[in-house]
Amino acid sequence: MNAIFLPITLFFAFAILIAPSIGLAQSLNSPLLGDNSRWSLDTSARVNHETETNSNAYTYALGLDIHKVFSSNKRDIGTLTFQPYVVKLKNVSAPPFFFDNGDDTQLNWRIANFNYSALSQGKLNIKIGHFLIPFGLELNEDTNGTLRQFTFSDRGIKADWGVSINGVYSKLEYEVALTQGSGNELLNTHNPYIFSGRLGTSSHKNLVGGLSFFYGDVLTENGVIERKKIGVDTSFYYYQWQFLFESSFGQTAGNDTINSFIEASWLESRERFKSYLQLGHQSLEVDQGKQNTTYWAIGLSWNHNNALELSAQYKRYTDTLGAEPDFSMQVRYRL
């Protein structure tokens, strides 16, 4: 037990040590960032039990979260969202490709963009920087830094550097983006790109629908992979229940693929405890025939004052590829 607890404990001990500098930074908040700004520090420690090797992999993240609205005398000009994170891996057997190895430390960009909104007060905005690829369920649910994830792995990318036009009408929301296709990497030599977009009904309603497209070459460890997808997504809320559905079809590296995802979740009435059950299925046409991958995941999370979050997830594949079950736990704290 100590083997799991000690690294996490030391990580948060480090956070205790930097707490005085947080107070200093808060006192500098106004002069540094000006009016209409907010900021916080986001820390997390995650342990993932790798069943195959019977070992634990750790991921530590320490990041900044800044939000600032720039305004003139009588209108908003745009919003800056800036979330750089330092991520340290320890004993990770299959790290994301932008890490050198499973014990590497890298600067990771979650969201870092400026959304220029002065053109028509929200109906036509221009976003530039690092932002979520507009596809499917990702846009309306904030899953950054959480164990709970949807379908981005099917497209090989969650957020990317680029430019988008986006806007909100009384009954419709849209975003169309042209991005680098390189995810966290700002510079690359493989010339990837992604053209993507989503058109959806109002996200504040209890029944939300959307249509998405995704076309481009996505940077991976072994060069680029061409992906083409058309997707449909639906969210339905009923009191404390939330039901999500997303399905897409298209091609990955020239092979036909169909991906489906559903989730049912329940949120306790004080919104501290959440539980969810996910089911996912992917079908991929390859030379040898059809390759099917199916998984289910169950997850729990508990938060205190939207600051401390403890979460756990168990994910199991039921396909023939023999992927081992995955069990993860995470402690997250926002200062």
Partner: protein, 208 residues
Amino acid sequence: MHIKYSSKFIAYFKISSVLFLIVSFGSEAAFCSLRDPVSAIQTLYSEDYQFKSVVTDVTEADRAQLKEELPFTIHQSEVSKHTLYVLFTKDELGGFMQARSEWAKWGLVEIAWAINVDRTLKGFYFQRCRSPQCNDVVAENISQVIKGKSFAELKSLLSEDGEQLSELGRDSFSMAPDLALLTLRSALKTLAITDISWEKDIQNLSLH
């Protein structure tokens, strides 16, 4: 190389970490999830408009002051930064918009409030309400009662202790009385906190 940690050392860090984690700094969800109530503004303000965000700290003192005006106050978790959207029509001050949260038995209800310059209510919009009761028919029914009313007029629809509708309130709301009560309490808090927490900002706007 393996470092041997003494059991006291480990116990110290376990306790200090738990203490550190329990202490709350009153933070918010990730800011990338913050959204402007553009859809609400478009629905509630039909004429040409432009808006400006004014973020302020809603303080513990503001919370206490609100308690002097109403038999209830905002939740302690709402003592943090909040945004007032100031609307302009043809360069003239046209009103305000503010989103506030209320606890219902099934979770948070978030309501976007449109406020006239004279601090009467222009209208409201359910930004997040996971009950099927929060439909357009019920919203319109509640809106017809509270639209154009001032703080004092709205307060007369509420009982002395603020926990239920007054006789006048019960007669006025013909549908979904529980949701009407929740909406009414939200309206009163919104009007009061707008004048308390954004007092200086609104004064500055009036001077220009």
